[in-house]
């Protein structure tokens, strides 16, 4: 296993280059890591030596196949951890990102897999970019069509919108989407009553078994 600094470098290069296809310059990498350019150059040199990076014509470097694999794995750990911290534990997004940066190096691949399937019930997360919570494309009320019947899985920010709870929209309850306007306002039927919900609130209601 690589030291955590080196993993951070690979992850950063993957992030700044989007998918690792484009070469990245030392200044760019140093800025993404938050370190000096001299230090960055030294680390990059050792990564090239180990075969994780390859040097291009100018000063820029690109991830090799091996480097890409390590970078993607670390990035995925970051994503899953950050997702877990923000969505499940309610940690603030910035703090969660920092925390994830530390945890990602110590956690085993298996634990990450289990954590990921714990959060989304087994579905494989589609590949996304590092640093943002895209590990699990959760379905919200806004993703449903008129006429769909879905089960509420979770409500983001459960301490807000107490009225949802009082009207019967809580995890486990089955609701039917009665109306969805083009402007994303929705009406759901719950407990025999129609409830109108504005888009910014509907987007915080995560639901299961919608197409």
């Amino acid at each position: 296993m690589l030291p955590s600094t080196l993993e951070d470098y690979l992850e950063a290069i993957l992030t700044v280059t989007g998918d690792g296809g484009r070469p990245a310059g030392p200044q760019e990498i140093a800025a993404a890591i938050g370190t000096g350019e001299t230090a960055a150059r030294a680390t990059i040199a050792s990564l090239v030596e180990e075969g994780y990076l390859e040097r291009m014509a100018d000063e820029t470097v690109r991830l090799t196949g091996k480097g890409l694999e390590v970078a993607s794995r670390v990035a995925r750990k970051h994503r899953v951890l950050q997702c877990f911290l923000t969505e499940m534990l309610g940690v603030d997004a910035d703090a969660a990102s920092k925390e994830a940066c530390t945890l990602e190096h110590g956690i085993s691949d298996e634990t990450i897999e289990r954590l990921s399937s714990y959060m989304d019930g087994g579905a494989q997360p589609p590949p996304g970019r590092a640093g943002r919570c895209r590990g699990r494309e959760a379905c919200t009320l806004l993703d449903c069509k008129e006429g769909d019947t879905v089960r509420v899985a979770m409500i983001r920010g459960p301490r807000r919108n107490r009225r949802l709870l009082d009207l019967g929209v809580f995890p486990g309850e089955v609701v039917q989407i009665r109306r969805k306007l083009p402007n994303q306002s929705v009406v759901v039927r719950v407990k025999g009553c129609d409830i109108a919900i504005s888009p910014e609130i509907a987007t915080s209601i995560v639901v299961e078994s919608c197409p």
Binding site: P158, D166, F170, R179, S185, V187, K191, D194, E200
Partner: protein
């Protein structure tokens, strides 16, 4: 003896209250809130019974003004019995509140209302399970037909025991209740409330917090969510026992046309325009009649008396204020509230709010604001009185600014009489365009700077039903009397002050003082400033005063087109009328009223000044 009516919104609570009390209902604001509380008396076997109609709520644990009020009211425990009204067609959701009320431990009676509706929908109700589980009297009623309403008061008088019901909570919650009971000898109700962070015992709250955090770390739900889910599930069980047989009934769903973009939006626009036309045509017709009658039968005879000048000036101011007030009260306030009550009681208001929600959000309000904003075209006074329909203070503040800027029918008279009459039709429309643009900009800015949280919409679409005519009239009448008793004295005082100022020659001095400024700033002669000031009393008076001061009704002969145009723009924007100011004071307080007034004055002068610079 005092009984309180509790229930969800639109369960027929007001109708029952009305049937039980009849006349002599006192509407008061609960101290420190804008929430209204209705109190009335009824006599049973020579005993005086006070009935309180609490506002409709969905829960006793929420943070809205209404929920806080009902909670505080029940906590005071000075109610002899609670009459919990339940809509049987929406039994399960209604039982959720009923269980919370039962936990308060007050003697109670359960009224299962709308039995007739339920029968129509093929729902068969057995009150037995609720009676057994809660251990209280249960009455099946149909308020719209007055059925069994007479049994409520005797049952409430007989109710002495609180409900014995205990909601079966999750075992972690039950364990928490037991340990909280041991730690600080709190009872079940107090512990449940403490776990949700309510209560005033700091030690208990502290202990409850620790336990709640512990429970939250085990479940993936907050304690509040768990408790609510337990209550809902228990309500579901009870509803299953109570509702016997539910024949599937396919009836036409009016919402399939009312809440779609098409034809929902055209219907909404049609209703808004229709209301406006009614207020406009019927309202201005009635106003003209009242103002005309007042002129012929009060002002002219009074002037013919030939009283000493001071008395005459005072008397005229009083009469002018009465004329202005009555000219608004009957035609606009009353008519407006008849329309609003019909929209509200029929349930259409929630459909309108749903359709307009997104558009209204841009200017910082929720969909319901579309009604006051539209009706403000008729008259700003009742529109301001209805901003209390909006839920947060933030929305009420934004709405007060925007409503006062909407050109009401009186300002339309000015635009039509001065601009369309002497300048041109195109120019008249441009005045509207300017005002609408300013309203939009003001809304966009206010939605960013007004303090307070923007609440998204979570609103029950109440079932559509035929409004009760007597209830509608009663509501409209109570608004009318509110206007007459609260706004009229202020209107009278303001008018007398203006009259005295003029009598002692302050107006003339004022004219000379401001003349250089009005000339430099707006290019208007000094007497137009006097006309503007009189416009505060009644907006049309700006037009009338201008004609009197100019000495001719042919204003085009004495003032240029540009001067007339600027005068009209300034009058339309400048200061809401005195009646609007008085209701603003009541609805949003003196600070916001002052802000609205200063803002509109500044805006009027600024826009007028800009036009003079650009167009001259």
């Amino acid at each position: 003896m005092r009984f309180a009516l509790v229930g969800n919104p639109s369960v027929g609570k007001s109708l029952i209250f009305n049937q039980l009390t009849g006349l002599g209902v006192e509407v008061s604001n609960y101290p420190g809130t804008t929430v209204e509380l209705q109190r009335g008396n009824t006599c049973f076997q020579r005993e005086m019974i006070e009935l309180v109609d609490l506002p409709g709520v969905y829960s006793l644990d929420g943070e809205s003004d209404e929920e806080v009020l009902v909670r505080r009211f029940l906590e005071q425990q000075d109610t002899d019995a609670v009459i919990a009204v339940v809509n049987v067609t929406r039994l399960e959701r209604n039982l959720y509140l009923l269980l919370q009320v039962a936990e308060y431990g007050l003697p109670m009676v359960v009224v299962l209302n709308m039995a007739d509706e339920a029968a129509k929908q093929g729902i068969e109700i057995d009150p037995g399970p609720i009676r057994d589980l809660l251990g209280v009297e249960v009455i099946l009623t149909a308020a719209s037909q007055g059925k069994n309403i007479d049994r409520i008061i005797p049952a409430a008088l007989a109710a002495t025991r609180p409900s014995k019901v205990e909601v079966p909570y999750d075992h972690h919650i039950e364990a928490a209740v037991r340990s909280l009971g041991k730690i600080s000898s709190a009872d079940r109700k107090e512990s449940i409330r403490a776990l949700q962070g309510f209560g005033d015992n700091p030690d208990l709250l502290e202990a409850a917090r620790t336990i709640a955090d512990e429970i939250e770390s085990r479940h993936r739900m907050t304690v509040t969510q768990i408790i609510a889910a337990n209550r809902h599930n228990f309500a579901h069980q009870i509803a299953g026992l109570t509702v016997r047989e539910k024949a599937l009934h396919h009836e036409t769903d009016p919402d399939s046309i009312l809440t779609r973009i098409f034809p929902g939006i055209p219907i909404l626009l049609g209703i808004l325009v229709g209301m406006l036309l009614v207020v406009f045509i019927v309202g201005s017709f009635l106003e003209e009649v009242i103002v005309g009658l007042f002129n012929v039968f009060a002002i002219q005879p009074f002037l013919a008396l030939g009283l000493p000048p001071l008395a005459e000036a005072l008397g005229t101011s009083v009469l002018l204020a009465l004329q202005a007030g009555l000219g608004i009260a009957f035609p606009y306030v009353f008519l407006f509230y008849v329309i609003i009550s019909v929209l509200e009681d029929s349930g259409y208001m929630t459909r309108a709010a749903f359709l307009a929600d997104n558009a209204m959000h841009r200017v910082g309000m929720h969909g319901g604001a579309v009604i006051p904003l539209t009706l403000a075209f008729g008259c700003n006074v009742p529109a301001i009185m209805s901003v209390r329909l909006l839920h947060s203070r933030r929305e009420r503040i934004i709405a007060s600014f925007l409503v006062t800027m909407v050109p009401c029918s009186a300002r339309t008279v000015i635009i039509a009489g001065i601009v369309a009459g002497f300048v041109g039709i195109g120019a008249a429309f441009s005045v509207y365009a300017i005002v609408f643009a300013l309203i939009l900009v003001t809304g966009l800015v206010l939605s960013r700077v007004t303090p307070g949280e923007q609440f998204g919409m979570i609103m029950e679409m109440v079932p559509l039903r035929r409004p009760d005519a007597r209830l509608v009239m009663k509501k409209a009448w109570s608004r009318l009397s509110e206007f007459l008793f609260i706004a009229m004295p202020l209107l009278l005082a303001g008018s007398v002050v203006l009259g005295l100022l003029e009598f002692f020659g302050f107006m003339a001095i004022f004219e000379q003082l401001v003349e250089p400024y009005t000339m430099a700033l707006l290019g208007l002669p000094g007497y137009s400033a006097t006309a503007l000031v009189f416009g505060i009393l009644r907006k049309e008076m700006a037009f009338e005063t201008l004609a009197i001061l100019a000495g001719t009704a042919d204003l085009g002969a004495v003032l240029s087109s540009l001067q007339l145009y600027i005068f009209a723009v300034v009058t339309v924007l400048f200061v809401p009328c005195l009646a609007t100011i008085t209701v603003l004071l009541r609805e949003v307080g003196s600070r916001i009223t002052l802000a609205v007034t200063l803002y509109t004055v500044a805006l009027g002068l600024l826009i007028g000044g800009l036009m003079y610079r650009i167009l001259a």
